[in-house]
């Protein structure tokens, strides 16, 4: 299908063209206080909305994105004509049905897709923040989203949902604001990063910082540390797939018919990683990658940190993991279930079958949709 036809098809079952919007808060003298003890302001959040907020403001669903995601979750971007990253799940008649629900997705702070982050202009210097940008945590991201939700005048979200880092924000919402969340759907995520997850992120960060073009973070006048960021993303992509999905997608197929006996990308898998890596450089800021991976590593809602001071939680949870996800293995979702059992929460948990590994939460839409749709449809039940 050529690109114009594809866009036509998408238009039919999709939301059509969507414009990203911007909300600015924390103007001086009231900056946003951060977990690190530092503060930042003003803060801009890029966001998109789909569907209509009802009069009671009771049909709002907040969608939280993953590491390299953005506010463009559904419909076709007015800027670059691309479909949203969760377009299969959000739209008319879909799991997050925009006929029924008002869906909000915002870019995290620390990111580079319109929200304030290290590549934004520091009002004090008139130059990009670079490493003068304060360290951001998942809790800080949620705090910024909370300002956006307040701006809409929404007292209680019908649901907060997200996969991977989006799942962490979902857990953070339920934990920090249990009275403002009716239900939570954390997918393919964890209450805390394991040493293995931190280790992968450290290798990712080191590959960026080892690139001389990184210039200790102050590279904006010279251009991105492209090689380092590309390698960082290649590492990421390996962890998003599964052994099985790589076998199915590439096997040992060669790009050309013969081995080159040179250090070139002989195998399709190599070509794929290079392609993904170098494409990423065009759309993502290297410093944002550093800040956000650090936020992931700092995240820890394990033990008593999760919904503290609450013995019995009324937030309704749907927790989903995928059997071949080895980046956020099922046992980490089961740990969330375990904590919720102790909180006397009535919980639904599915360990879905998929070959796609961690990527499944973006790809394995059918089972996911069915569950989410039915879960949301029954929220009015006791």
């Amino acid at each position: 299908m050529d690109i114009t036809k594809k866009i036509e098809q998408l238009k039919k079952d999709s939301l059509g063209v969507i414009h990203t919007q911007y909300f600015t808060f924390a103007e001086p003298p009231h900056p946003l206080q951060l977990k690190s003890g530092r503060s930042i302001g003003p803060v801009t959040i890029a966001y998109e909305t789909y569907g209509k907020l009802n009069a009671a403001k009771s049909n709002a669903i907040l969608v939280c994105h993953a590491l390299s995601g953005d506010a463009h979750a559904a419909g076709i971007s007015a800027d670059d004509k691309t479909p949203g990253w969760w377009d299969g799940l959000i739209g008319p008649g879909k799991a997050l049905d925009t006929h029924q629900y008002f869906v909000i997705c915002s870019n995290v702070i620390g990111g580079c897709k319109g929200s304030t982050g290290p590549s934004s202009i520091n009002p004090e210097t008139g130059k990009p923040y670079a490493l003068d940008f304060p360290m951001i945590t998942i809790a800080d991201m949620v705090e910024a989203q909370r300002h956006l939700i307040d701006f809409f005048g929404i007292e209680k979200l019908l649901c907060v949902i997200g996969g991977s880092m989006g799942g962490m924000q979902t857990l953070q919402w339920a934990s920090a604001y249990p009275d403002r969340v009716l239900s939570a759907i954390p997918i393919a995520t964890a209450l805390k990063h394991s040493p293995q997850q931190i280790a992968f992120n450290e290798v990712i960060r080191q590959s960026i910082m080892a690139d001389p073009a990184w210039r200790k973070g102050f590279y904006y006048e010279h251009g991105q540390p492209e090689n380092g960021l590309a390698v960082a993303r290649m590492i990421g992509h390996i962890t998003f797939m599964s052994d099985q999905s790589m076998e199915e997608k590439f096997s040992r197929r060669l790009k050309n018919d013969n081995l080159s006996f040179e250090f070139t990308d002989d195998f399709e898998v190599e070509g794929y990683l290079r392609y993904r890596g170098y494409n990423f450089v065009k759309r993502f800021d290297a410093n944002s990658y550093l800040y956000i991976t650090k936020a992931l590593d700092y995240f820890d809602l394990s033990g008593a940190h999760f919904i503290p001071d609450v013995k019995i939680t009324s937030v309704r949870f749907l927790i989903i993991s995928f059997k071949t996800d080895w980046l956020y293995p099922s046992y980490q979702s089961q740990e969330i279930v375990r904590v919720l059992k102790r909180k006397h929460a009535f919980t639904t948990y599915f360990d879905l079958i998929s070959t796609y590994g961690h990527d499944a939460f973006l790809i394995e839409i059918d089972d996911e949709s069915r569950l989410i749709k039915n879960f949301l449809a029954n929220l009015h039940q006791p």
Binding site: T347, T348, F350, N374, N378, P382
Partner: protein, 192 residues
């Protein structure tokens, strides 16, 4: 309503917190929620059955029965239900003991292997009994153990488990005469 579901629905009080181990498609839990306004949680392994539960608005955890119980605090539920699942559980004693820890009361329902028709088949044809309560051939049955009403009562005595109520179901409803011979199914309400 199935006779065993009717009995269990009658046992459970209004607004009770109920855990159903091996809840299947959630048929019983839906009844308890509708008729008794019970707050219900199911545990099930089969994904398709779980989808049906979620379609009906039930909360259900995917997992095997044995491994998920230890996480619940003591007395988390008013009732823990083990209906038509005893014969499929590997660690039956552990599951019953754990259920007694996390529920005020435990309801156990199982097919009686000593029912007259089963004895008849075994004695005269020398074949594994197949009847309404035990409808499987040996090579396709999910059942890994066969127990009788007398076995179960002996077990409770040995383990000092109090049998609060007992219900015996024959072909045409509740019976009380020689249950180990005439009951196809039994339902016990247990407390510590």
């Amino acid at each position: 309503m199935k006779p065993d579901h009717q009995i269990i629905t009658d046992i459970i009080h209004e607004g009770a917190h109920v855990l159903d181990l091996g809840c299947g498609n959630g048929e019983l839990l839906s009844l308890l929620r509708r008729h008794k306004k019970a707050l219900v949680q199911g545990i099930e392994l089969d994904e398709e059955q779980m989808h049906t539960c979620v379609e009906n608005g039930l909360t259900v955890l995917q997992g095997d029965i044995e491994s998920g119980l230890a996480d619940y605090p003591d007395q988390s539920f008013d009732y823990v239900i083990l209906n038509q699942i005893m014969q499929e559980i590997k660690k039956a004693d552990y599951v019953i003991q754990e259920s007694l820890r996390l529920g005020h009361k435990v309801i156990v329902g199982f097919p009686n292997f000593a029912h007259l028709s089963a004895r008849w088949t075994l004695f005269f044809s020398g074949k594994t009994p197949i009847n309404e309560a035990l409808p499987y051939y040996w090579f396709e049955t999910p059942n890994i153990r066969f127990l009788t009403i007398s076995d179960f009562i002996d077990y409770c005595k040995k383990k000092n488990i109090h049998i609060e109520q007992r219900y015996y179901l024959g072909k045409k409803g509740r019976i009380s005469f020689l249950p180990n011979l005439f009951a196809q199914n039994a339902i016990f309400v247990l407390t510590k």
